[in-house]
């Protein structure tokens, strides 16, 4: 018997990705998708790729009924103020905003600038990246979504952090325009955004908090640049290690960390065109491609993480987490490999 699923706030890009995944997921049945401003419209009005795939229309959030799994895709800050209401409607709530990513109320206040509206819920939420918290996710009733840039960093750095090899990291992140969401702004206006190579968060990026929570304390500097890409994140992390390592050591660490992970691929080829991770081939895919190298002259390690921000960085990880929490095969509904050429 399939589980019933609803989405609150389904008109944005992550809501659209969730719909695309869940409509074809054999373990669930879509019950409702809400959008206050689009109530009554068919879902293809906002997500044209889904035309003909479902008779669903957007409904008001006030009409959501009890279901097995409820995904929240609301603006940051809203889920935290309404969580008691939504948790009363479903056995499992998966919130794709940043509201429940940080476990510590103090860390939330430091990084988001205000007191958390529901601090007691923070410790209860599992962080929705199975590569980090599979066992917690399996038992959770509240799962947070992941930060897309944080995910690219976390997966690039996880094997090094577990080995205690990180002294300092400088992470250079390239991102596509869909990270800015579906609401237009002056900066997303086509003449301004097209062909831009626009650095915009040189210091203090909030996703650093998720990396510290996941991987521990080390000096981490993050800078972000928007580039000519719609989907995708590429993290290039320059790591100063605590001790010298050789390339074979890195292979051993990364193989050990990811040998059993269905969605993390090591991409480090000596031949061919596609030798290192490139988010261009990951559009629509839940794969995270990870690569690495070491400069034997200086000792610096370079760790790469490439994902589709809307998939492994949002909706894909959320569905993967749902699969884990429901006891389903983890890859169910998530095996699309991306497009080439993209």
């Amino acid at each position: 018997m399939t589980k019933t699923v609803s989405i609150v706030g389904g008109s944005g890009y992550t809501g659209g990705e969730l719909l695309r995944l869940l409509l074809d997921h054999p373990g669930v049945t879509m019950r409702a998708v809400t959008s206050r401003s689009n109530a009554g419209d068919p879902i293809h009005r906002k997500h044209p790729n889904l035309r003909g795939r479902s008779d669903l229309v957007f409904t008001s959030p006030d009409e959501v009924e009890a279901c097995d799994v409820l995904f929240l895709c609301m603006p940051h800050g809203q889920a935290a103020t309404e969580i008691d209401k939504w948790a009363g409607l479903a056995d499992l709530v998966i919130d794709l905003s940043a509201d429940f990513r940080l476990r510590s109320p103090d860390a939330y206040k430091d990084w988001y600038g205000s007191e958390h509206p529901a601090p007691a819920r923070l410790a209860e939420a599992a962080y929705g990246l199975p590569e980090l918290e599979r066992e917690r996710i399996a038992k959770a009733t509240l799962i947070s979504g992941v930060g897309c840039n944080a995910t690219a960093m976390n997966l690039a750095l996880l094997p090094l952090a577990r080995a205690g090899l990180i002294d300092r990291v400088i992470a250079d992140i390239k991102v596509g325009s869909s990270e800015a969401g579906a609401e237009p702004s002056a900066s997303s206006h086509h003449p301004e955004r097209s062909r831009a190579v626009r650095s915009y968060a040189l210091t203090g990026h909030r996703h650093a908090a998720e990396v510290h929570q996941a991987l521990g304390e080390f000096t981490l500097d993050v800078s972000v640049t928007a580039i000519e890409m719609v989907r995708g994140v590429l993290c290039t992390a320059h790591v100063i290690p605590t001790e010298p390592v050789a390339m074979k050591d890195l292979w051993k660490l990364y193989r050990g960390a990811y040998a059993n992970e269905p969605f993390v691929r090591l991409v480090n080829e000596r031949q061919g065109l596609h030798r290192l991770p490139d988010p261009a081939v990951l559009g629509g895919s839940n794969y995270a491609d990870v690569g690495f190298g070491v400069d034997e002259r200086t000792g610096r390690i370079v760790a790469l993480g490439a994902i589709d921000n809307l998939m492994k960085g949002a909706a894909g990880s959320a569905v993967q987490s749902m699969n884990v929490a429901l006891g389903l095969e983890e890859t169910t509904g998530l095996t699309f490999p991306g497009l080439h050429p993209a």
């Binding site: 292979w251 480090n268 031949q271």
Partner: protein, 59 residues
């Protein structure tokens, strides 16, 4: 009965398997890192990175 012979990739340490005894000069490709490796000795097996065309990516 056949015996599988194994060696380690010189670049990433992944196991390289031979279904039949390797020959001097034979080139094999590592499935993990894609390195092309030349058999330079057969008993014991010694592998060396085969010469490759360098790619400068247009720079």
């Amino acid at each position: 009965m056949t015996t599988t012979i194994t060696a380690a990739c010189t670049e990433c340490d992944a196991p390289i398997t031979f279904d039949r005894p390797p020959l001097n000069g034979q080139v094999v490709r590592c499935a993990d890192c894609g390195a092309e490796l030349e058999v330079t000795n057969t008993d014991p097996i010694r592998l060396e990175l085969a010469p490759e065309v360098e790619e400068d990516w247009g720079e």
